[in-house]
Amino acid sequence: MLGNLGVADHPAASLFLLPNFTFILELIAFLLVLGFIAKWVLPPLRKAMAAREAQIRGAIEAAEDARREAAETVARRREALEAARAEARQIVDQANEMADQLREEGRRRGQEEYERLMAAARSEIELERQRARDEVMSDLGDLVLRAAERVIGSGLDDSRHRALVDEAIAAARTSGDGQGGEAGA
């Protein structure tokens, strides 16, 4: 079937622009390769490319979801932060208000205690003054009697003149009370 291997001086060499029977054989060879590529190579290759494309698309979508979730988390955190700040402001305001109330209450109580202590002190002072005046007045009778004895040079009837002195002292006390009351007022 195959025979007569020729060389460059073969008659066909002068017709190099015209196809010969090689054309048919090479066409068949090409069609075989075309069939192989179309049936055996491209389908698995396209399948792998499509699978990778799907993987990449899935990864991109997952990344997009993660990005969206992260953005939502940031937004939630910002909202929580704002709420916490608002709550903190409210607490501070309440604390300030309470502090003002406590300060006012303390000031009021202090004022009341001060007034109570002042009133007690005044009362005590008045009592002490009264007590001192009474002592002074009781001593005053003795002093007056002794002074009078020295002036008149004779003894006085202690019981009789004592009543007079006490009466004078009572009058003086009444008079002193009236002056003390005016002075206290």
Binding site: G3, A8, A13, F16, N20, T22, V33, I37, V41, L42
Partner: protein, 244 residues
């Protein structure tokens, strides 16, 4: 070196010929096509075994890049309805690219033929692929728009344009095949010319040979494969659109 001497030293259309069923065949081109096909099948089998939805290997990454680029091109021109062209365009690109790269391997021995010439540097493979593409384009046109619409597009925008449209349709497979063939064939001629250069050169011949193969492999080969695939997509675009 005179131009005439140079012309004599360049073998054009030089192949190892044989006979099959009484027809002449280029055995070296057929071997190259077989090698290119086996390379693609081997790469495809490795890819099929190792294809993963996880981190792709270098081979899978290369295939995905090619398939992705072709699919994007198809979607941008035809939309989803043109995706049936992707296997053909991908196979064309891979087949042409691997075939072009065969030229880079040093398989020529002094006094002998190149064992693995780029099969795209021979008219048979480009013509086979171009005619297959154009036939499929016309079949698609008829299948998508109907025979009446297909015939009608030869007479648009009016009857006077029939000769122009006819020449355009005939020129499509010719230009598609000859563009690829001419570029790769020219590359192989360059290699022969470099090998025939006199010894007194600034750069040694092996360096020139390497530089040219690098340029041919990195730029001309991929560019021609890309152009063939791109034009295929564009021709199918016109067929799918029905000439509208």
């Amino acid at each position: 070196m005179t131009p005439s001497l140079l012309a004599i030293s360049v073998p054009v259309g030089d192949h190892i010929y044989g006979k099959l069923f009484g027809f002449t065949i280029n055995i070296d081109d057929l071997v190259s096509v077989g090698v290119a096909g086996l390379v693609i099948v081997a790469l495809g089998l490795v890819l099929r075994a190792k294809a993963t939805a996880g981190v792709p290997g270098k081979l899978q990454l290369a295939f995905e890049t090619i398939v992705g680029a072709v699919e994007n091109q198809v979607r941008s021109t035809m939309g989803e309805r043109g995706l049936f062209v992707v296997p053909l365009a991908v196979t064309l690109f891979l087949f042409i690219l691997i075939s072009n790269w065969l030229e880079m391997f040093p398989t020529t021995y002094p006094g002998h033929h190149q064992i693995l010439p780029a099969p795209t540097g021979d008219i048979n493979l480009p013509a086979a692929m171009a005619i297959l593409v154009i036939v499929l384009v016309h079949v698609t046109w008829i299948a998508k728009s109907g025979f009446k619409s297909y015939i009608g597009h030869y007479f648009k925008p009016n009857l006077a344009f029939f000769p122009i449209n006819l020449v355009e349709e005939i020129a499509k497979p010719l230009t598609l095949a000859l563009r690829l063939f001419g570029n790769i064939f020219a590359g192989s001629i360059m290699l022969v010319l470099i090998a025939d250069l006199p010894a007194k050169l600034v750069l040694p011949i092996p360096v020139l040979d390497f530089v040219w193969k690098l340029f041919d492999g990195l730029f001309v080969g991929p560019v021609q494969a890309f152009i063939f695939s791109l034009l295929t997509i564009l021709y199918f675009d016109a067929a799918v659109a029905g000439g509208h």
